[in-house]
Symmetry: none
Subunit: 231 residues, 2 copies
DNA sequence: GAACGGCGTTAAGAAGGCGTTAGGAATCCA
DNA sequence: TGGATTCCTAACGCCTTCTTAACGCCGTTC
């Protein structure tokens, strides 16, 4: 196996399925990497940056869709879902949170390999996988969930981090109160604009040089907030 | 249906299937284009440059794989194959000559639409630039909710912004007092023409070079206001 | 030439949105 | 089970924004 061989990460808890796929993938000329749980899968994705990810939705420790969402926060690596669930809503849900294909068990190895080739074809050739967002003295490593301000690591709570990355994802444009509440608090009933005020204040204190005169985390009165990018 | 709606080309010889898919696609908000033969399909693809192509492999006049090959000589438009043939070799063949996905009949419309969304997502990873409205030294990015005058960002309050964008939307044409009040103040009782005078003055101060002699934000006495476009 | 109506301008009060702080509840981890 | 972290909630004061009124300018009309 040459070191240039493309690498496939398989996230699957059933040992039998892992064995089967390992043979198929190595037979197809790919380097092979496996994880038996969602947590391990995410870690390996961060560590090895595989070229394709095969993901079983029925994992023991976390929901497959959550894993997709977490992954898509920083990576556009093609994901092919392989699942025993053939219900249409499962497929739609997975595809809409960022999966690139959905294969229902059982399937043939030939088709799997062909769909992997399609996924590789789609992978943005020019785009160097760069999960780094930088702005002023800030450096955010989306893959490691690490935020540095002037080289110093700053700890953000889960909600602070989600609010921050939501603004990053829409950098430069206004994000409305409604949209922020939906994306950060997940459409939970009772999410109030008051939350945003509190958490924006906390973010400013942790990230801005002069929290009372924010340079990047800007308020758009009556509308929402915006992460200002300099141009 | 807005003229910006994405367009789907369906190449399918069975009338019954065409009817079914037409309903599904138009229900999904796409513009719809159909061809009953491979020859016609290629011609329409050249002519209309659809955003996605749905291709049935079982065509009367030419083999679906040949069509794929011919198409890929000049176009990378995403192609989703829909076929009654579920044999693995068919799938592999289609995917390897350039198809982006392969759906076996019968399938649900929800899944089809989800796979179309995936195909569209793949189509342009190169970020699309925001549509800009420019006029003189003004540059308005509606998506970012940002207004630049001579390169300098200018802050507008919610009402100012709504008034301004309403005029932009009808650029060049007169917008009556009544219409402006309705679109900006939302039909709230008590909205007076006085409001317009106040807010037009504020807009002129923020945007015009000589607010007392406005170049673009013009008054149409007794009727309304107009955003003058030059030419 | 004086009265009138439409418009622009300015300013001030009112209303609502926003930032800030802190304390208690809930959750997580050891 | 205990401690620490994180989240929710309320209270308060400030600041932006909206509304409203007053006044001056200009052109038209009688």
């Amino acid at each position: 196996m040459t070191p240039e061989a493309l690498q496939v990460l398989l996230v699957e808890d059933e040992p039998q399925m892992r064995r089967f796929l390992r043979v198929a993938l190595e037979g197809g000329g790919y380097r092979y990497l496996e994880a038996a749980s969602g947590r391990e899968g995410l870690a390996l994705a961060v560590q090895h940056r595989p070229d394709v990810i095969l993901l079983d939705l029925g994992l023991p420790d976390m929901d497959g869709l959550d894993l997709m969402t977490r992954l898509r926060e920083w990576s556009r690596t093609p994901v092919i879902v392989i699942s025993a669930r053939g219900r249409e809503t499962d497929k739609i849900g997975a595809l809409d949170v960022g999966a690139d294909d959905y294969l229902t068990k059982p399937f043939g190895t030939g088709e799997l390999l062909a769909r992997i080739r399609v996924a590789l074809r789609h992978a943005d050739p020019g785009a160097v996988e760069d999960p780094l967002f930088t702005l002023g003295r800030w450096r955010v490593d989306l893959a490691r969930r690490q935020v540095l301000v002037a080289g110093q690591e700053v700890h953000l709570t889960p909600l602070e981090y989600r609010l921050f990355t939501t603004l990053i994802r829409h950098a430069g444009r206004v994000v409305t109160h409604r949209q922020l509440l939906k994306e950060v608090w997940g459409g939970v009933a009772g999410a109030q604009p008051l939350y945003l005020r509190v958490y924006m204040a906390q973010l400013r204190h942790k990230l801005e040089e002069d929290p009372s005169r924010p340079r990047y985390l800007q308020t758009e009165p009556g509308v929402g907030y915006r992460l200002r990018t300099e141009d």
